[in-house]
Symmetry: C2
Subunit: 408 residues, 2 copies
Amino acid sequence: MYKEVNVSKRIIMTPGPVEAQPRVLRQMSQTIVGQFDPEFLTIMSEVKEMIKIPFGTKNKQAFAVDGTSRAGIEAALIALIQPGDKVLIPAYGRFAYLLGEICQRAQAEIIWLEKEWDAPFEEKEVIEAIKKSQPKIVAMIHGETANGQMQSLAEIGEYCRQNELFFVVDMVATYGGVELKVDDWNVDIAIAGTQKCVSVPSGLSLITYNERVEKVLADRYQKELGLGDDEQSDAYISSNYLDLSQLEKYWSPTPINHHTEATVMIYGLHEGLRLMINEGMENVIARHKYNYEVLRESFAKMNLTFYGNMDTMMPTVLPIMIPKGVDGEAVRSTLLREYGIEIASSFGSLQGKVWRVGNMGYSSQKSNILLLLSAFETVLKAYGHDFDYGAGSIHALQMYQEKNDCAK
Amino acid sequence: MYKEVNVSKRIIMTPGPVEAQPRVLRQMSQTIVGQFDPEFLTIMSEVKEMIKIPFGTKNKQAFAVDGTSRAGIEAALIALIQPGDKVLIPAYGRFAYLLGEICQRAQAEIIWLEKEWDAPFEEKEVIEAIKKSQPKIVAMIHGETANGQMQSLAEIGEYCRQNELFFVVDMVATYGGVELKVDDWNVDIAIAGTQKCVSVPSGLSLITYNERVEKVLADRYQKELGLGDDEQSDAYISSNYLDLSQLEKYWSPTPINHHTEATVMIYGLHEGLRLMINEGMENVIARHKYNYEVLRESFAKMNLTFYGNMDTMMPTVLPIMIPKGVDGEAVRSTLLREYGIEIASSFGSLQGKVWRVGNMGYSSQKSNILLLLSAFETVLKAYGHDFDYGAGSIHALQMYQEKNDCAK
């Protein structure tokens, strides 16, 4: 006889999934409505509009894909790729390789531009590589969760547009935590998730694309077999589940049946976006920025250093070098088991060398950060790291107290 | 400024999505835990075991795919199909064409065996077609939601196994409502969803497969780029997101990173399966059967007839012929707008001719059925159908009252 799930309290300071907004979870406990119920169609149309705001876009198309972030990334790439198409992937961290993984399976010809993970690319390096390799698509990660680095995009986007390439950008780690300008940066398709700064449980991917992509999709659209065989295309997309041309019609005001929408997840998404927009995007971004400064300054006072170039770091993930002589996994598991605080390790060559502290969404709040810093000091000390005990946690407390005083 | 979602009360008597168990929704409002949190790994391993029970299988492999039912169906088919492979699809309803849609995109050679939608196939017809066409895979729907018909599988499965074909069966509409015998019927891969008889919100697909399929997957497995390039295959699967060979390792006791698990949905799935198993599969199936008899007898007393062969109908969907002179859509929308009761229309040639009443999961309970029947009589009468007013609803009431008396 299985028992009810009864999960323990957690403070989740990883780069995702982070704590869901309690109000989001409450919204999700509402009753199901059918996917073509008029009430649900209203919810969908509001969600479409709200998704656009953190992306910084006036695109007509924006909707959710029923799958985790990588479902949206795969949908975006296979919407554009036909076998043999050239895709340039500049890689400055782990998730560029996920883009490559997906492109390989879509039978693209991949041109890699690789570098050490300690910083993103100079935009001109990427533009040089484009000139040299003449791809159809440039696919990049905006904010790399593996190393906390963030790529500038405006010049690359401009060059792509001028030369009629497609620019696909994964904004999973920055959506809702950093100011995004999909339109100004000439990004053709942008993808995000729910489980990071939106503070909605994992399970949906968010996507937006412009008229250039709409045109491609119109050419590749094929009506689903079983709903009629009148609209066919020779260039149909390789997946039914992740076919953006069908999903676009499913999310239109006169929806054509596709999957059975995850209605309860959409309630949650509606609430997560709504709370964010009501807080005000500027305030949301300022909150992430300030909390990030507190974390960075306070960890530095614990005699800790960070991985990578400090000028190009993003405010949503802080990669901390595990000090010599300290058992990184023991620190992490002590924090989780004894304090209920989760931080992350990293991938690839950074595994075992770096802790990653997330600063995302609902998890990015004062009390979480103060609790983390105090507990971290205790555990660091217990595991033998040499530093001025109390310096980091008191510094953080003072930063917040001063901020409160200023606000008065 | 967007308002909070505040959905109206609904009685959902469609073939899915149906009402979620309130206890499932409460479970889903628990806090997030990380996907590699030891507590979550325990939940996953329990879910794996519970998924097997309604399938009637002792397979080692059973897990959830993070997407709606068709995500699981696509994952199953692309796990087996390589370009040019022959797939036989016997079609006695709409959803066989979804299988075809997916197989086409996977570049299979499809052999159709088609018939009118009023009944499933005689098993020997399918076996004859297999002999003639020599496919690698036979893909079928167990219970067809479009017409309420259910296919016998045991002989087909036996023939497939003897001849070393793969037998893939979509059990989305029957899982948790009908006794399933995946092992006895020699089904190699079976797929189900959460939004029907499991009474968990849409968003996950359930899958199980046997050692024959495990072997195929072992040959096609390729480690994700970015996690190492040591394990490669020439026959890798066309999708990363829906790659069962990677998902199998993600759901293993020593998980390899893939997507960010939809942890909250998994809490819900855990509870939905748990409640079903605690009720006892025999009791669950008997409840669906009895409620179906009540519906069928009571609707018949309203001078209504049903679509298709009565001997091969499944107990989870009842297709009612819309009587001549009655505006079927007006009846449906009146039920929804005025009573908050949702029933469904149908697809293809049955659209406009048939109403479909679902009898699934938590929605399949006495009070729902009695409310539906009373309201249905009122609306039918108002829209001009000629019948003995009260006969159906009173018959249903008496059936339940007699049952109560017998139980005393």
